[in-house]
Amino acid sequence: MSARTAVAAVSPRLPLRTRLVMFTRLLAIQASWNYELMLGPGLGFCIEPALRLLPGGRGGAAYREALARQSRYFNAQPYFAAVAVGALARAELDGHPPEQIERFRTAMCGPLGSLGDRLVWAGWLPFSALLALLAFGLRADAPLVVLVFLVVYNAGHLALRIWGLRAGWEGGLRVASSLGGPLLRRGPAVLSRAVMALAGMALPLAIWRVLRGLPVPPVPESEMVRAVGGVAIASAMLMAAILGAVLVRLHSRVEGWRVALVVLAVLIIYSVAR
């Protein structure tokens, strides 16, 4: 009996300890990220605990074949890679043919990358950051602002990784249907609108707090009044609107942080030289 035929008889149950180890390893999936195999070695690292359940155990022929296959080139958004980890671990333990597993692996890269980028990097992350900035603008203390960000962001982050691993394992090679759910389909657009509303609300409040919050040491009352006065806030918002419009017009030709670096460098030189 070949290794792969024997594999087909393996039960699809994954012990809790193995799941926990796989989940912990998922947090370090990008530790050896490189331009050659990208996430490949990380993916192999995360699936490896499940592969120990293959006939022959750790170091057996089935284990080595599967580990070599799973450590090749792979790329996806790191949180959504949990779906691939679960699905590929299930496919290996179910004993699917290597060619089928490799085709599936290749096909997963695109959807797990683009969905994750839109939902997490362009959605959940700015949403959580703007929520924290809104708390900052509403005069929350430092620990509360930090807590708002970390709790909100990581509630989504950890839930996504846990769901991904479970959905991947339960769906196996048919996991694509889990990615078509309403939450994942409509989520990015809903989050984009929420990000815009939060950005509109947080920006004037954050500007105000920055203007008010920086003169921490004893400052003459008159200067404090001027610092938080309507003229200062209006000037900042007008400058922000003009510069923001320029940045939007220059979309993809210039990055905002570079512009900020140049403006601040000019300000420093002016202030020192005059």
Binding site: A31, Y63, A142, M237
Partner: protein, 229 residues
């Protein structure tokens, strides 16, 4: 010199841990500026200055999406440096401007250091390619651990070097600073808000009604501001 270096070590260790969070482990975003700069400020003795610097940096960092193979500024270590500097010089009028400038420049250098780390990981992977193809147990684990260790060292060294470069620079610049606090902060806040606003605008491209949501939020924000004053 030695005691000065020792006093920087706690900040450098925090920089190393937060630098690791950016990509390698656990990506829980404790490396975001609003968290990292606040921690840096707390370590340097003034958590509020760190928070304000973190908010400004967070506004600027909003536009960067840490997408796959792209090279982007590394805000984790940079924000620790910025927060610590803002707290260290908090009594001086231009402190925030100089701290944010140093932080952005460090983030830029940090982006290049991450590029270098990824190249180094590639060298190690190529060296182990034969063993990876054989599916040898332990090879992927060794690669992951090597990557984690190198990233930790990268964050530590970057934070330490940045502090050694920027602290004397800030001391010199701030001793010659002539602008008042208010105009400096107006420019700083305006630049940060412009970058954040344009970032939100870009994110919403192709989403119907998104710009109306922004305007609605803006009206609400200004209303809160006016009512509260």
């Amino acid at each position: 010199m030695m005691p000065e270096l020792l006093s920087l070590l706690p900040v450098a260790i925090v920089g190393a841990v937060l630098g690791l969070d950016v990509v390698s482990f656990p990506q829980a975003m404790i490396s975001r500026p609003i968290v990292a700069a606040t921690l840096g400020g707390a370590l340097a003795g003034d958590i509020t200055s760190g928070l304000v610097a973190g908010a400004v940096l967070e506004l600027i960092a909003l536009e960067m999406l840490p997408v796959g193979a792209s090279r982007y500024p590394e805000w984790g270590t940079a924000s620790v440096v910025g927060g610590a500097m803002a707290a260290e010089f908090y009594a001086l009028p231009g402190a925030a401007v100089v701290a944010i400038f140093a932080s952005i420049a460090t983030a830029w250098a940090g982006g290049w250091s991450m590029y270098g780390l990824r190249r180094l990981n590639g060298v190690w992977v190529r060296r182990e390619l034969g063993m990876l193809e054989e599916g040898r147990p332990g090879t992927v684990t060794a690669l992951q651990l090597r990557g984690l260790t190198a990233d930790l060292a990268r964050g530590f060294l970057l934070t330490l070097i940045a502090l050694l470069v920027w602290l004397p620079f800030a001391a010199w610049v701030l001793s010659h600073w002539s602008l008042g606090r208010t105009p400096s902060h107006v420019v700083l806040a305006a630049v940060a808000a412009a970058v954040a606003g344009s970032a939100a605008w870009r994110i919403s491209q192709g989403v119907s009604m998104a710009r109306w949501y922004f305007l609605g939020g803006l009206v609400a924000g200004i209303a809160i501001l006016v009512l509260r004053r």
